[in-house]
């Protein structure tokens, strides 16, 4: 064997050795070496939090921040890793969560209340059962409707008095959007036209600024952090919010307490009470959309010990001053937090829509889509 070959062989052997040492990173298996030991359940383990959104969005950013605090408050300080599984409008991520092995309690998932509502309508590609999800904590977040000064909408009265068509822009006419379209349609606007297909909150804002849209919506959080300056410049006017549902009633968004909710606006402009099938559905969907904007779930198959530890830690996280401060800075508003049972009650309000109500939403989407 020539010296050169010997060097190469040595190199190869060395490489192989390092490889066996480092090779544990190349499979998806969690190393659970620290099992069975005495001490806290999560000691030395790694928890995966599945976030069904792209990296970088508000939900992802918020989840990453929450993961840090969860790790801090869980006994044993396990690492909490966020795994982004975007796709299929959250379905991909939640399917993966449902498929995961829950016997070790190492998987959590995040998802919006909207997806729970929309699984009632659109079952295509849904391989998870929301009844098996146990909510650890749910964070709320409202929606704000704002008008375009350029298009001559300066107040609620301008909307109802307008004889010109009123254009309202949104991203996609899904279950959550359909109740806003319904509520606006009920206001008594002479010629109301929903326009869907914008590719993000920013595009809607730009269209409202130019007067292409008379009204747009955005999350209250986006409104407070991004749109508010335009309000101060007099280019847009906030009109109403979707509100939160407390004890079955729609109440004002605490972040924007001066704005009426959509049912309030309806009652004011028409003099009628917001009753009937459509408004019942509005309240149920609003529960899903705003009260339960961001849910953090553990699977019901997870060991009880794990659930208890997680619930305990989450209760401490939402009390943490620093966490609330950071969340407020990120979202522009302090998120409403609902723990375990309270959140489960909100979830039940959504899951309990009757088949007739589900059919009503489906019909409404079809009808509004071809208008």
């Amino acid at each position: 064997m020539s010296p050169k070959k010997r060097i190469m062989l040595g190199f190869a052997a060395g490489a192989a050795a390092i490889l066996t040492l480092a090779g544990c990173g190349v499979t998806n298996q969690q190393s659970s070496a620290a099992d069975d030991a005495e001490g806290p359940f999560y000691d030395g383990k790694t928890i995966t939090l599945i976030v069904p959104f792209d990296a970088g969005g508000a939900s992802d950013t918020f989840s990453r921040m929450l993961a840090g605090y969860l790790s801090e408050y869980l006994e044993g300080n396990p690492e909490v890793v966020v795994e982004n599984v975007p796709g299929g409008a959250q379905k991909e991520g939640l399917n993966r969560f449902a498929r995961a092995d829950h016997s070790s309690g190492l998987h959590l998932a995040m998802g919006s209340g909207g997806i729970i509502a929309s699984t009632l309508l659109d079952t295509e590609g849904v391989q998870f059962d929301p009844d098996e999800f146990e909510t650890l904590v749910a964070f709320g977040g409202g929606m704000t409707i704002f008008g375009s000064t350029q298009a001559g909408i300066g107040s609620l009265d301008d909307l109802t008095a307008s004889t010109a068509p009123v254009y309202y822009g949104g991203l996609e006419l899904n279950a959550s959007e359909s109740v806003r379209v319904f509520a606006l349609d009920q206001l008594g606007i002479a010629d109301f036209q929903p326009l869907m297909g914008y590719d993000g909150g920013g595009s809607i804002t730009a269209a409202v600024l130019s007067g292409e849209l008379s009204m747009g919506n955005s999350t209250s959080s986006h409104y407070l952090t991004n749109v508010r300056p335009l309000e101060e410049d007099g280019e847009i006017t906030p009109l109403m919010t979707q509100g939160y549902v407390i004890d079955g009633e729609v109440v004002r968004d605490p972040a924007l307490p001066d704005l009426p909710t959509m049912p309030e606006a309806y009652e004011e402009s028409t003099g009628k009470r917001a009753d009937g099938m459509g408004w019942d559905i509005y309240r149920a969907m609003t529960t899903a959309q705003t009260n339960l904007l961001r849910n953090y779930w553990v699977h019901s198959d997870a060991p009880d010990e794990a659930k208890a530890a997680l619930q305990d830690a989450m209760a401490k996280v939402v009390e943490d001053e620093e966490f609330l401060e950071q969340a407020t800075e990120l979202l522009g508003e302090e998120p409403l937090a609902q723990l375990g049972d309270e959140a489960d009650a909100s979830m039940a309000a959504v899951r309990d829509l009757s088949p007739e109500q589900v059919q009503w939403i489906k019909d409404f989407i079809v009808e509004a889509g071809v208008r």
């Binding site: 792209d54 970088g56 590719d199 410049d233």
Partner: protein, 516 residues
């Protein structure tokens, strides 16, 4: 205006900021070098790291990474004919033939110089566009955006040579592929045929890897021969390439401005901007136009200048309106939120303006550092073109399958990329041009959404809006010029008009630039 600019310069020249910038640039170069992996992978990895970081340093790292990916991606594009990222596909058309002639280092030198100039011009344009940002974004309504996507699509006929029918088939196929999945307006599923994987549609990254990267590697492996058999200009070739750029000042400056302007338009993105730059340059030059596609250095300069300049343009809607102009810009926005930096109109307030300058300086600096580092690597790495493909091809296939898997993290990704790769290899064999497919795919989605909104909002009256007509006339001229294949004069006037218009609409203060 000047005081915050110098304050920002002071911030970014601090050692800590420079260190993070270098980290970003380093990772970006590596990611660009590896075909299939791009800025998105890197941004997603760095995102958790910036929690609690000083905003200027975080911006330095993310922007540095982003700029460097579009520099590093030139290596595989030129040396192996494999686009390093989707943003350097057009570079392959002339860059790879240059490598086959043994001029890899010249092509690389020209590319990096164009990258640097383009990036710096993009940064300057970002600076100049700050006061104009709002009128531009607000002025671009859905009808205008629709017409711009049509203009982009019409370039298919300019780029294509020879028979037009296969190019049209290819573009239509691309648009049809883009409609697979849930429709963005109604959420209704189209052409999914009950396959759960398709509900989400086809991912651009998978299409780009399957369409160009894998077939190119497979072809190299079949040939079994090194790309070039000698490097006649092994010494000084890189510098020679750099000098070539200065001989084609108009090409590099014109395309930098074009790239910036296109970056502002939401929904176009790097994977098409390089083609538009390539097509526009090809139709605008008078001399030796038939050299394009055979190793013309202008075909390398144009897309490389444009794809780095676009980063400046993309930041305009991203920073001023929170409208992410690209997928990486969306992650950047998330990063800003993590660091507690408000984006949107507040960024233009006097107290925040120095942060905007941090972006501008960082962009310019990152492009300069990235290009110089790549230039230094160009000479040793260009020797890769002398290696037999067996020594790197199989490894690249492994890497590219892994890269495809990252887009959806499911087995369907691998199945799809394998199917696309084999079909695309077949398309290449029967001389069906593939660039129109990717252009149709990217612009098809935008065209549909913007048309939908335009009709819903204005019925058909948007057709009579002045800007619609102006762009419409441009589309018709482009089509006529491409189809009649007239040698230059019509295309020349299109180019001149476009130039005047983009200058008039977006950068009035730019000096007059004409193409040769």
């Amino acid at each position: 205006m000047w005081e915050p600019a110098f304050e920002a310069l002071g911030t970014i020249l601090s050692p800590e900021h420079l260190l993070w910038l270098l980290v970003g640039v380093g990772i970006g170069l590596v990611l660009g070098l590896i075909p299939g992996l791009g800025g998105i992978t890197g941004m997603a990895v760095l995102l958790p790291l910036i929690v609690g970081m000083d905003p200027a340093s975080g911006i330095g790292m993310l922007i540095g990474l982003n700029a460097a990916t579009t520099i590093g991606d030139t290596f595989p594009s030129v040396l192996m004919g494999v686009p390093g990222t989707a943003a350097s596909q057009a570079t392959v058309v002339d860059g790879y033939p240059m490598a086959r002639k043994g001029l890899a280092n010249v092509a690389l030198g020209a590319a990096f110089t164009s990258n640097m100039i383009g990036g710096i011009i993009g940064a300057i344009a970002l600076f100049l566009l700050i006061p104009l940002a709002r009128p531009i974004i607000v002025g671009m309504g859905s009808p205008q955006l629709f017409m711009l996507t049509l203009l982009g699509l019409s370039l298919v006929v300019v780029i294509s040579r020879g028979a037009m029918a296969p190019a049209l088939i290819s573009a239509c196929l691309g648009m049809l592929l883009a409609t697979i999945g849930s429709a963005s307006m109604t959420g209704e599923y189209r052409f999914v045929g009950g396959i759960a994987y398709l509900l989400d549609g086809i991912d651009l990254a998978i299409l780009a890897i399957g369409l160009f990267a894998i077939p190119s590697i497979l072809s190299l492996l079949v040939q079994g021969q090194a790309v070039a058999h000698e490097l006649p200009l092994s010494k000084g070739g890189v510098l020679r390439g750099a000098r070539e750029v200065f001989r084609h000042k108009r090409v590099v400056v014109g395309n930098s401005l074009l790239g910036t302007a296109l970056g502002i338009v939401p929904g176009i993105g790097g994977s098409v901007i390089d083609w538009i730059a390539y097509g526009a340059t090809k139709s605008a030059v008078r001399k030796d136009r038939d050299q394009f596609g055979k190793g013309d250095i202008r075909g390398v300069i144009a897309p490389e200048a444009a794809n780095n300049a676009k980063d400046g343009g993309v930041l305009v809607p991203t920073l001023m309106f929170g409208i992410p102009g690209s997928a990486t810009a969306a992650i950047l926005l998330g990063g800003m939120a993590t660091m507690g930096v408000a984006t949107g109109p507040t960024l233009l307030r006097p107290e925040n303006i120095s942060l905007v300058f941090v972006f501008i300086w960082t962009l310019a600096l990152a492009n300069a550092i990235g290009a110089i580092a790549s230039g230094a690597l160009a000479r040793p790495l260009s020797r890769l073109s002398l290696l037999k493909p067996h020594s790197y091809g199989p490894m690249l296939i492994v890497v590219m399958l892994l890269a495809a898997y990252q887009s959806g993290v499911q087995w369907g990704d691998i199945v799809l990329v394998v199917v696309i790769a084999l079909l695309s290899w077949g398309m290449q064999a029967i001389k069906w041009p593939r660039p129109p497919l990717i252009i149709g795919f990217v612009l098809g989605t935008g065209a549909e959404n913007y048309l939908w909104i335009s009709v819903g909002r204005y019925d058909w009256s948007w057709l009579t809006q002045p800007w619609t007509i102006v762009v419409g006339v441009l589309v018709i001229i482009t089509l006529a010029a491409g189809l009649t294949n007239s040698t230059g004069r019509i295309a020349q006037s299109v180019k001149a008009v476009t130039r005047r218009m983009t200058r008039g609409a977006k950068t009035p203060e730019k000096e007059k630039v004409n193409d040769a």
